[in-house]
């Protein structure tokens, strides 16, 4: 697929150009987006009436569409999420428990349905297309990308907006902290580290990343991005050569699967390859992780940005390169493993490949 546009919003990033700078320090506490920037042609009134989850997606999707927005081209929308709008679910249940069924909030109910993001994007950005919401673990962002690519390659779709969105929730954070999977302030540990004490892992993040993709034949000189993207359902069996690998390991329960895949992929490489762990800097965004990592891959390959490397598990240290040279990096494998053991991947390549 042609990667024709990319949009992003996280607590410290509102444009792809800010991604690398946001990796200055590892993230060991949860963070939230303080303010959503203005979205062109979306009034403040309409934005105010949109849930935070949908507003994040709207911001990133609008950025990804760029100048294509408003064209008559049919664009399908695919969304991925793990927890959805937990704050709105909480609000609905607060009314229900405090005041009874007669006072349950219709607004909170209809805004917290799982497919609210797709409905919002369709109504406000891409009328006329189809759409599906994928709900799952950390890898489901790339699962949605895989489906969008399938729709395009089968001829069912012409173009697609596909992305992942996650909203911070205290309830989720408390639950995960109780499981020992990271808390508001937790000691930062290496990916794949053994659990120590009751707190480990990165903090929770929120935001949205959206990609605008089309068939390879649609690549044009005026495209903002000059990269291609190829989703993989079985990254563990990938035996091709890449210039860098981006892993979704975040010192959480999916790390064991990430490590197994990394070992397999690294052993197939003809030379040591640098491995980057963006979640250590951005935090754990669940379904958002894989798409955020694709944004990092594009930033390296398409824009030549430099990212820090983190010490890796001794099992794979001899297979990894100690330095990343973005100028010679033309292809990247992104790995995203879910804590249920299912993984997905994507290869991002520069267009002249």
């Amino acid at each position: 697929m042609a990667l024709k546009g990319i949009g992003i919003i996280t607590p410290h990033v509102t444009h792809i150009s800010e991604l690398a700078v946001a990796c200055a320090l590892p993230c060991n506490q949860s963070d939230q987006i303080k303010k959503i920037p203005e979205i062109p042609d979306i009034s403040a009134r309409d934005l105010r009436r949109t849930s935070r989850l949908c507003a994040y997606a709207l911001y990133a999707a609008t950025q990804a569409l760029g100048s294509v927005r408003g064209s008559k081209e049919r664009i399908d929308c695919f969304a991925a999420l793990t927890h959805g709008s937990t704050p709105l679910l909480k609000e609905f249940h607060d009314y229900l428990f405090d005041f009874g069924a007669d006072k349950a909030s219709p607004g909170a109910f209809s805004a917290s349905v799982t497919n609210a993001v797709v409905a919002t994007l369709s109504t406000m950005l891409c009328p006329g297309g189809a759409g599906t919401t994928f709900v799952g673990m950390e890898q489901c962002g790339i699962d949605a990308l895989n489906h969008a690519a399938l729709m395009i390659s089968s001829g069912a779709s012409n173009f697609a907006l596909v992305g992942a969105t996650e909203e911070y929730s205290e309830i989720v954070e408390q639950a995960y902290s109780a499981c020992g999977w990271g808390g508001r302030i937790s000691p930062l540990t290496l990916p794949f580290a053994q659990k120590k004490g009751t707190d480990y892992g990165v903090g929770q993040t929120e935001g949205s990343v959206y990609l605008f993709i089309g068939p390879i034949s649609s690549i044009g000189k005026n495209d903002a991005c000059l990269c291609t993207i190829e989703p993989l359902e079985d990254p563990e069996n990938f035996s091709g050569q890449v210039d860098c690998i981006i892993s979704g390991a975040n010192a959480g329960p999916a790390d064991c699967y990430e490590l197994a895949i990394l070992k397999s992929v690294l052993k197939a490489q003809k030379r040591p390859v640098p491995v980057i762990f963006p979640q250590l800097y951005f935090g754990n965004g669940f379904a958002l992780n894989g798409m955020l990592d694709i944004a990092v891959a594009y930033d390296i390959i398409g824009r030549g940005s430099l990212y820090p490397l983190y010490p890796v598990n001794p099992d794979i240290s001899q297979l990894t390169a100690p330095l990343l040279n973005p100028l010679t990096c033309k292809s990247s494998l992104v790995i995203s493993a879910g804590r249920n053991g299912q993984a997905a991947g994507a290869i991002v390549r520069r267009c002249d490949e």
Partner: protein
């Protein structure tokens, strides 16, 4: 949209559970007899309107009350349908089969109880939280039968079941899988019952799809599983096809968060896309299982869409809605509808639309009846589903002769 030559996809197993009971045989019998599973219930200790007419799966089916099964009720419902479908398809443990689940809320009731305990400063079971992530149903189903294929959960509100079937169909036509279990499931919960009540969409009586006096839906729960197989590998296995999944289409209306477009634009586009995939025109469809929730707007939108699609043929096209038998089972409704559609083709009859007394005069020419009807040459059936956010999806099923 072009469709290169792709393999036929058969349904080789199916299972269902709803307020009617467990098993496709019971669902067929209820259709023939005109029996409804809707009853007045008192649910959730005040966290739902009391009483409410709904389609609750009879307690004896799960051997657990609705409150005792909060943590995993969707999984339990799915298990029943899954076991029946897998047995019929003859799938063994360790088989490479995709699991595609369509659901709106999965096991949300468990998460509701978790939050209530947190709010009341009671000890809270963290394990309750995981269940409401929809993919947990897919993981559970795959673990139950030892399936090793891809596990995916899709959610498009009340069109989730049909969307799941369509997702499986697309993957199989592209060669990504030879077999898939499509599971549509949703369980009653305080959230869904109170939520729909808060939108004033629930009826205080048994729902009456397309009736002049219709005044809303009845929340329901249930699950249906379809085992889809590549026809060539199925034939090689000696599988008997129950039906062929010929076409799928979906659309987003971009109109309103909870109402469908008055002209049913989304349904029109979905059905046209499904027909294009199936290589037929709407005129070739013999009958239709409609979404038919009995709300004022939904039924009117659907009728407009049918008029646009079928034109002068509409009076000769038998249609039906089964929500007056099962209640509105939300994410499960599309796959339960597909089960009724297959049963209709197998037994050559049109299930009844119960409690329809006086057809709304605006639905001129709608060929619908409150009693079951025998038909001949029922070979191509349409299943439609609509959902919040303007979701629409359509499935075309064909008899394999």
């Amino acid at each position: 949209m072009t469709h290169p030559q792709t393999p036929d996809i058969w349904i080789t197993g199916m299972g269902a559970v709803s307020a009617l009971g467990a098993g496709t045989t019971i669902h067929h019998k209820a259709s023939v007899e005109g029996r409804s599973g809707l009853k007045a219930h008192s649910l959730f200790n005040g966290a739902a309107p009391d009483p409410i007419i709904c389609g609750m799966v009879p307690p004896e089916v799960l051997s657990k009350s609705i409150d005792d099964s909060a943590k995993e009720r969707a999984d339990l419902l799915q298990d029943i349908a899954l076991d029946e479908a897998v047995a019929q398809a003859g799938l063994g443990a360790g088989c490479r089969v995709d699991t595609i689940v369509g659901t709106t809320l999965a096991n949300l009731h468990g998460a509701t109880n978790y939050y209530r305990d947190i709010k009341n400063r009671q000890p809270a079971d963290v394990a309750l939280v995981q269940g409401f992530i929809a993919s947990s149903c897919a993981d559970h189903a795959a673990r139950r039968i030892g399936a090793t294929g891809r596990r995916i959960a899709v959610s498009s509100a009340c069109a989730s079941g049909v969307t799941a079937a369509g997702t499986a169909l697309l993957r199989m036509r592209a060669g990504l899988a030879d077999m898939a279990m499509v599971c549509g499931v949703d369980a009653l919960s305080p959230f869904v019952v109170s939520g729909f009540s808060s939108l004033m969409l629930c009826s205080k009586q048994e729902c009456r799809p397309f009736d002049e006096a219709r005044d809303g839906l009845n929340p329901g729960e249930g699950a249906a599983v379809l085992v889809l197989e590549n026809a060539m590998t199925a034939a090689a296995r000696g599988s008997i096809p129950l039906a062929k999944v010929a076409g799928f289409g979906q659309s987003l209306e971009s109109f309103h968060a909870t109402r469908s477009h008055p002209e049913g634009r989304g349904i029109v586009e979905s059905v046209q896309a499904a027909c294009a995939m199936a290589g037929c025109s709407p005129q070739d469809i013999n009958a239709a299982h409609l979404h038919g929730t009995a709300t004022k707007f939904n039924d009117a939108s659907e009728y407009c869409a049918l008029k646009t699609l079928f034109g002068e043929k509409l009076p000769r096209l038998p249609v039906f809605s089964t929500k007056s038998m099962t209640g509105h089972t939300f994410g499960a409704s599309g796959t339960i509808g597909a089960v009724f559609a297959v049963l209709a083709m197998q037994h050559q009859f049109i299930p009844p639309t119960l409690f329809l007394q006086q057809l709304d005069p605006q639905f001129q020419g709608l060929n619908i009846s409150s009693i079951a009807r025998e038909v001949k040459k029922l070979e191509r059936l349409l299943v439609t589903a609509l959902g919040f956010g303007g979701e629409s999806a359509a499935l075309i099923l064909e008899r394999v002769i």
